[in-house]
Symmetry: C2
Subunit: 254 residues, 2 copies
């Protein structure tokens, strides 16, 4: 059996509000977990400002480098919402009124005058793009090439992402199991390194936590083969027990 | 008066646990706010995996592009903690035992044998680097050139960052004021765009929120001139009031 192709993705978080610390991003972890389910590996995330040249250059760099690119933020009606027109520039296509997008927006206003010029910008879409449904507030996202453009508001982004997940062709789902030990990393490190060496296709991570005045460690094994994963977890239990710890599956108490 | 030089920074978040969605990053917003205080602009954030070639290449790209680079994650004792040796490679200097770092680590162990080989890796530092204090768990971070290497555990990272903030030379602190209106973005957009055009040195952001079945908008003005900022906020109040809204300063209720 030839080795399975690894399908990769990156996420571009577009918005000054994340870089200023005003807004805590809540989209990265949601998208990462959704990609695990469909067997796509999130390999990079960039947070960039609302600057046209930066958006255009970054989208073009990323869409050549990864199988999928997801963007969040910057598709609303205000002056700082420039993602959509930047994507058109990146692809070298016109940014034009999309009749279907206009119809969807118009359906939300009892008074046609409420679909003003600013709101009509949200119906402008790069030519050739496929709309992404927005069941929350109607203004659609879109897909063009391997780039999926979504809203930044978590409620809306989540609805959009759930709508497009089935369009992605990934590999086997990435499974993950966590073993928590009350032992510090420095005690576990040597045995853990040896275990990682014997499971080169797994990603074994070690994450210290601090509770009640001391450090403990959570060990996370990720991979696609459920049965070998179970064996690795058994070995982790044995490692922790052998070092005098009391391992259990799952995260440490909050 | 010549225009003040804008001092820029980027943050590299190093770790598979962020990209897998297992861990929600808590460091970006903390560092962003701290940089605002000392007048340094955070211009980009990248989240990258624990892959040596990626870390080395990204550090070298970023340290040439920004005045300051901050990294979080990957300086512990386990096999996936490779940030420190990658920084040495990026700078082309040896990665060697640092006597002061070893002394600090050793002071924490009653039994000298507890300072095992894995833990001693945390006392290996790129040659020529200056240590960053870790008052929480002793293993230091370090600064080399314009790159500041810190732990990923938020408690430790925050203590490290607070210790180095005074070393940074920024410009005037970046001030921020928020005006919240119950109006949707589409109603505010036109007037807001005109206001932004009259304050080109300010960054005026518009952030929709969803509460009790409807959308409202928070408007955030950022800049360094407190008195012009006050004038801009007055204009924002007038804009919202003129459109039938009831503005107030601060964020919307949670």
């Amino acid at each position: 059996m030839p080795p399975e192709k690894i399908v990769t993705a990156c996420l571009l978080i577009i918005g000054n509000e994340i870089l200023s610390g005003r807004t805590q991003d809540a989209n990265l972890a949601f998208i990462a977990k959704g990609l695990n389910e469909v067997g796509v590996r999130l390999r990079e995330v960039r947070v960039i400002p609302d600057i046209a040249e930066t958006i255009v250059a970054t989208v073009n760099e990323m869409r050549a480098k990864f199988d999928y690119v997801f963007t969040t933020g910057g598709i609303g009606p205000t002056h700082d919402d420039i993602t959509s027109e930047c994507i058109a520039r990146a692809f070298g296509v016109p940014w034009a009124l999309n009749e279907e997008a206009r119809r969807r927006l118009a359906a939300g206003y009892a008074n046609p005058a409420d679909l003003n010029e600013a709101r009509l910008r949200m119906a402008h879409i790069p030519a050739g793009a496929v709309l992404i449904d927005n069941p929350v507030s109607r203004a659609p996202g879109f897909q063009i090439g391997n780039v999926f453009v979504m809203a930044g508001v978590p409620r809306i982004m989540q609805a959009m992402f759930d709508g497009i997940k089935h369009r992605l062709s990934g590999g086997a789902p990435v499974l993950s199991r966590t073993v928590t030990s009350g032992l510090p990393e420095g005690v576990l490190a040597e045995g853990l390194g040896r275990l990682q060496a014997r499971y080169p296709d797994f990603d074994i991570g070690s994450y210290p936590y601090y509770r009640r005045g001391g450090f403990g460690t959570s060990l996370v094994v990720r991979g696609t083969d459920a049965s070998r994963l179970a064996t690795a977890v058994e070995e982790l239990f044995a490692l922790v027990t052998g070092l005098g710890g009391e391992p259990y599956e799952g995260d440490p108490p909050a």
